[in-house]
Amino acid sequence: MEDELILRKVEEARKKRLKEMWSVFKNNRMAYLASYVLVAMYLMALVGIFITPYDPYDFDLSRARQAPSLSHPLGTDELGRDILSRIIAGAKYTLGISLMSVTIGALIGVMLGLISGYMGGLVDTVIQRAVDVALAFPTILLAIALIAALGQGVVSLIIAIAVSTFPVYARLVRGSVLQVINEDYIAVVKLLGKDPWYIMFKHVLPNITSPIIVQSTYYMGLAILLTSSLGFLGLGAPPPTPEWGSMIGSGRVYLFSSPHIVVSPGIFILVTALACNLVGDGLRDALDPKSRMFIRRV
């Protein structure tokens, strides 16, 4: 009875904390604004293909490399495709790939971190050594190595970025688990005789969601930059996909005569990544202003 009461109290405290976090976040005007920008960008990714003024794939060399005008607000690219339409349609790729890979990376990392922190012992050692290996690669290098091995394409891109993000989650979650696990209420739950998986998901995980969310927000920004960098290098989404980085990559040849081709997709990448970082900062400050455990970009 009393145990149930303690658990309910913990639950209430958690909800209260989330509420407080949210109100602090809302008071941070930049972060709040940035969260709207992010939502707008993702809406664009969701419905983009239906609202493009032109067909993003329809090329016509006769109108190639036109400067911005009323009919083509951001101009046309090297094949005469409308850049605005391509950016709108491309949001799906740049943002979608980033979201997918961060989600997968987070899932794997969180699982490994939970197991590692909760089980301890040999399992912990093995997982942490694997994480060591992954961390021995600079982020973009790991992604490039994977793409070199898996071959080019959207799927390998997602895998590559996911693999390069998971180790930090595993570390972060393991650390948080080790902190949480010593709290009294976990001992209470253990006494109630629940099995370890139940405890991990029902009682440990909810208590470490906030740091995971903060880290994921930063990683969204990082993943957007990674996705577009790889696209730019020609290792990302293959042509004619209107992925933003790929657009810049194929347009860079015409930098001298038609800089507008590379300028606008870059601005979209910049704004989205900036929004992610601002929201991340806002959430971090709301969570714990002093915290330095998060990695924005290395």
Partner: protein
């Protein structure tokens, strides 16, 4: 003596990580893409050519034999032969290394010369312009697509103003644009870390003691604030230099800077697997070595860490 012992211990410690990385690369290159010989030869190649390549690379042997062979040859410093250039991989890497080192050092110096003063001033004067500038720089550094800002710089300085070359490494002027671009990326984190490290150090109690002694402000700042703030700054510097020495992949590619990063991208397009593998291993090795160096620097700064690290062996 104790430093040497510590170094040996650290090297022994990272061996599993390095072997793990080797194994990972090995698996990646030999198992995942199906038949690397086929990949190298290309889809139109004759079956006989594929077989020849397979034998050339030792791909017909059992996997574990291949791994042992591979380990042994790496221990001998033999990273294999580049398919594209026909030269030892290690030579290709060493040829490109000076360029990568030059770019890394120049970029890190530029970043430091901006980030350190800015971070320190913004920590000391929380409501000043410096604070505002440093938060802008810090956000920019982590949000700007580096390849894009590189193109913008090329457009401004090479195309419009025609004052700086946009690609290659023929003269000292060629390093200006790539290093500035790269430094922008480094500056953000460096400024942010410097600022928070100095703020934390400023608020520590021993600074109050230093004030109570009647020490001059300048002495307190240097001895009791900045030196204590050095550890996080050195860490981030180490990570940055470590990843840069492996080649600033994107920056080098945009500016056609002949370093290791652009070599890696080229080798990927040539499907030069031995070269790809060699470069990646080299980068990982550099990264690991830098981590050890950073640890040694820690120990030099902080006697507590020194005691813990050097005595437990």
């Amino acid at each position: 003596m104790s430093l040497a012992r510590y170094l040996i211990r650290r090297v022994v410690q990272v061996i599993p990580t390095f072997v793990g990385a080797l194994f990972f690369m090995f698996i990646l290159v030999r198992v995942l893409p199906g038949d690397p010989a086929r990949l190298i030869a290309g889809p139109e190649a004759l079956e006989e050519d594929v077989r020849r390549i397979r034998e050339l690379l030792g791909l017909n042997k059992p996997l574990y034999v291949q791994f042992v062979d591979y380990m042994v040859s790496i221990l001998r410093g033999d990273l294999g032969t580049s398919l594209k250039f026909g030269t030892p991989v290690i030579n290709e890497i060493l040829n490109r290394l000076p360029y990568t080192i030059a770019l890394a050092l120049v970029a890190e110096s530029i970043a430091l010369s901006v980030a350190l003063p800015l971070g320190i001033i913004s920590a000391l004067r929380p409501r000043s312009k410096a604070t505002y500038i440093s938060s802008v720089i810090s956000l920019t550094g982590s949000s700007v697509p580096i390849f894009w800002i590189a193109l913008i710089f090329i457009y401004i300085f090479s195309v419009s103003l025609r004052i700086l070359p946009s690609s290659g490494a023929d003269s000292p002027r060629h390093i200006v644009l790539p290093s500035i671009t790269l430094s922008l990326l480094l500056m953000g984190n460096l400024t942010r870390i410097t600022r928070s490290a100095v703020i934390e150090s400023l608020s520590s109690n021993h600074v109050l003691t230093a004030l109570a002694k009647g020490l001059k402000y300048r002495v307190i700042l240097i001895r009791h604030v900045l030196k204590n703030a050095l550890i996080p700054i050195v860490t981030i510097m180490g990570i940055q230099i470590g990843s840069l020495l492996g080649g600033a992949i994107v920056t080098e590619t945009v500016f056609a800077w002949p370093g290791i990063g652009s070599l890696l991208i080229d080798s990927i397009f040539y499907r030069d697997y031995p070269l790809i593998q060699g470069i990646i291993l080299f980068i990982v090795l550099v990264f690991i070595v830098i981590n050890i160096v950073v640890d040694v620097i820690y120990a030099l700064i902080d006697p507590r860490i020194r005691d813990v690290l050097w005595r437990t062996s």
